[in-house]
Amino acid sequence: MLESYYPIAILIGITVGLGILVMGLGHWFGPRRPTQRKNAPYESGMMPYGPGTRQMPIRFYLVAVLFILFDVEVIFLFPWAVVYRELGLFGVIEMAIFIFILLVGFIYALKKGAFEWE
């Protein structure tokens, strides 16, 4: 049963081994003269200024969360779309109710100004 996975195991072995080999060659034979710039996390020949992480405006968060909420609900549309011919009118009504509930949330967010960028 596990035999079918042998090619993958061999592939993983080769990849890992090659990676270790190549990096090891550089490590063992290459000369090293560390400087401060070279030791910087992102080495590009320039000195980094300021921390790498910055605070994002809170508005991005709001948009992202609204996106998640309305996006995940699409999950329910997929199985529905597969069988909606068999479900007939009943399925259409069900989905209309579902979308309507989402719409209420959307109208709420709209009226509360969640989509205004300023």
Binding site: M1, Y61, L69, V72, I75, F76
Partner: protein, 100 residues
């Protein structure tokens, strides 16, 4: 074809990892990620069992769980953002204004 048991064992390992993560990590976001891991390990178990019993219910449950997880993300991240604005930290060890 991998046997169902392996999926169940994997899901049990993921679930345990999630619990351990909740108990030992101190950053609220990481704790929450561990909780998500717990939910997703249950999803994996549902899928595996649905396959074993050859029925669809288990797969449909996963959809519900994913939706619930999304709702939890929205509420949880909002709580963390507000608390970060007040305290400038989401380390749960520093949430100590309530002590008896």
């Amino acid at each position: 074809m991998v046997a169902i048991e392996y999926y169940v064992i994997l899901s049990a390992i993921l679930f345990t990892l999630g619990i351990v993560g909740v108990l030992i990590r101190r950053n609220a976001i990481v704790i929450f990620m561990s909780i998500e891991l717990m939910l997703n390990s249950a999803n994996l178990a549902f899928i595996a069992f649905a396959r074993q019993y050859n029925e669809l219910n288990g797969q449909v449950f996963v959809f519900f769980v994913m939706t619930v997880a999304a709702a939890e993300v929205a509420v949880g991240l909002a709580l963390m953002v507000t608390i970060f604005r007040t305290k400038h930290s989401i380390d749960v060890d520093q949430l100590s204004s309530l002590k008896g």
